[in-house]
Symmetry: C2
DNA sequence: TTGTATGCGTTATCAG
DNA sequence: CTGATAACGCATACAA
């Protein structure tokens, strides 16, 4: 039944070409084969429209040419961008992607890691906020934006540098008192360096600053309270804000509007990520842009590099500033 | 070498449980097995942490539990949303997704279809604008938003109804002269029904209308010319616009701003797709929302339904209107 | 260099 | 109902 749909096999090609099965295999895999044999085999391949069977090869070699990508979803545009570039990077190397949406759920993450092993994937790339993520042994594992230990390579944007850049920009743009706002995991991870860099530069530049960092799960209203607390006679105490992600920055801008505070006239806002309208147009707001394509390329080349031992444990990639209407240029 | 990483096999389980290989297979596949045997096998599976090997099963059954999804990219938020829901829908049914980015390139589409067959996928879902897409034989094939023939099922939003809805809304909102704007494939396809529905309702409602439809490849400037042509003394001849996609609508709104025409005060704009800010917040603009999740569910259940014969050739799913600041509510 | 034969892990067929 | 065994398509060690 199903047999009907299956195409020709190496045996068919061998018969057609009048050579042995092994010879066909060697031609397909680009090994040394006598010219006349190679031609006969290639002709037969053309003739029959032969294409090798992935399952047969995988079973034999125990390599699936597949990398699992664990990521919350593709609804968030930054994740969608990463998925896009990672898939393209894998495709260039003749690898396929097994896409696993964690939906921020630790049980799902664990289950996907189990499933990835069952499917004998050749490596795993994970973007996870789970501080207790269990890294499997014996399989190349690369994380994005999350440092676990020196034995698990991590690829990230230069979060510290991005934080510094935001402070420098706000200073340049004439800000005299700024604040940092963020929500996220309480543990120290890569994104929390955005704050460290920001504050480092503020101190250096003699730029007065305040900050509020919420833990995952705390309600957004805490930010509203913070803003109201720092408002007197309709005037916000800050003329510059640096926010941990574009998404949060956008929400905060909405809140500011409701409070009658104008952006960028009264307060200039810089986000982080570099989300663009419809993925490819102008930035949604002024922002520190993550190099999504370079991050993708780096993850892929690292996870496929085989010798995970002499691979750096943390790779930082440069960020850039992009104006997007929430600053006064 | 690689053998180290491979987990236990059915043979290992059989040995551990003291039963035959076939019995293990029957337990794993949920077939009839004596209670005592089942227990012994399950204990051994637990003990060894056995997980079945996908490649072995695929090789034997010629079914990969994989569906190929061909789509331009995940940079566009609407595509990213579809990818998200389709992957989840497949996962629920224990299927995996082979994600193929066509990047609007016909050669890539053809190559992916070839590759999908090589990988023995169990079906293909394609979102393609290619009018000459070659549908492969003998493999379940479902398209999104693109009708080829009654033998190739197509899943789409109710584009005609969405067009009508846009006209009705604009009328309700007080518009007296409207226009439809779109760019896309010249051939009649599902999205072109947005225009048909819009015009149908305009006629019915006695709402004067104009329209401009560009072919793929024509420059955006044609839209600018159209708008300028319909502007006299800084006043646009239309007080309502319906645009084929949110993405184009956004660009047009930018152009209008540059022309000194205010949205929504001078002209109200409705787009199509239902793109939301950061994927999950408020709509980017007033829009006709496509039911992405229902589209995904429908595609998946159709492509997996086995008997492609008695499956409807076109499924239309209901759309909804969502206000997003470019209309006066 | 080419041919032959074995085994990867699984399901399915056939005997017992 | 269970056990033994063949076959799926391929890569590779070994023989020629």
């Amino acid at each position: 039944m199903a047999k009907e749909r299956s195409g020709p096999t190496m045996a068919d090609v061998a018969r057609e070409a009048g050579v042995a099965l092994g010879t066909v295999s060697r031609v397909v895999n680009g090994e040394q084969v006598g010219e006349e044999f190679r031609e006969k085999v290639n002709a037969a391949i053309q003739q029959l429209g032969y294409q090798y069977n992935t399952s047969g090869r995988a079973l034999r070699t125990d390599r699936t040419n597949t990398i699992a990508l664990i990521i919350p979803n593709t609804i968030n545009p930054y994740f969608a961008l990463l998925v896009n570039h990672i898939n393209i990077a894998l495709e260039k190397r003749n690898y396929r992607m097994m896409l696993c949406f964690s939906e921020y759920d630790r049980d799902r993450e664990a289950e996907f890691i189990r499933m990835a092993r069952q499917n004998r994937v050749d490596g795993i790339i994970a973007l996870s906020y789970n501080p207790r993520l269990e890294i499997p042994e014996g399989i190349p594992f690369v994380t994005i934006d999350r440092f676990f230990s020196s034995s698990v390579p991590c690829v990230a944007a230069d979060n510290f540098g991005g934080g510094r850049l935001a402070a420098v920009k706000l200073k340049e743009l004439g800000c005299t008192r700024v604040a940092f706002m963020r929500i996220g995991s309480t543990i120290t991870n890569e994104p929390s360096k955005r704050r460290d860099g920001f504050i480092s530069a503020c101190v250096e530049l003699n730029l007065p600053f305040d900050q509020i960092a919420l833990e995952d799960g705390q309600p957004y209203e805490e930010f509203v309270k913070f803003l109201i607390r720092n408002t007197a006679k309709g005037k916000l105490a800050f003329d510059g804000l640096f926010v941990g992600t574009d998404s949060l920055a956008w929400q905060i801008i909405q809140t500011l509007k409701q409070m009658g505070i104008r952006v960028p006239e009264d307060v200039q806002v810089i986000g982080f990520d570099g989300i663009r309208m419809f993925g490819d147009q102008e930035p949604v707001l002024s922002t520190i842009v993550q190099p999504a394509q370079e991050i993708a390329e780096t993850c892929v080349s690292m996870v496929l590099s085989g010798h995970m031992s002499n691979v750096p444990s943390l790779v930082c990639l440069p960020v850039a500033y992009a104006a997007g209407g929430t600053t006064r240029e």
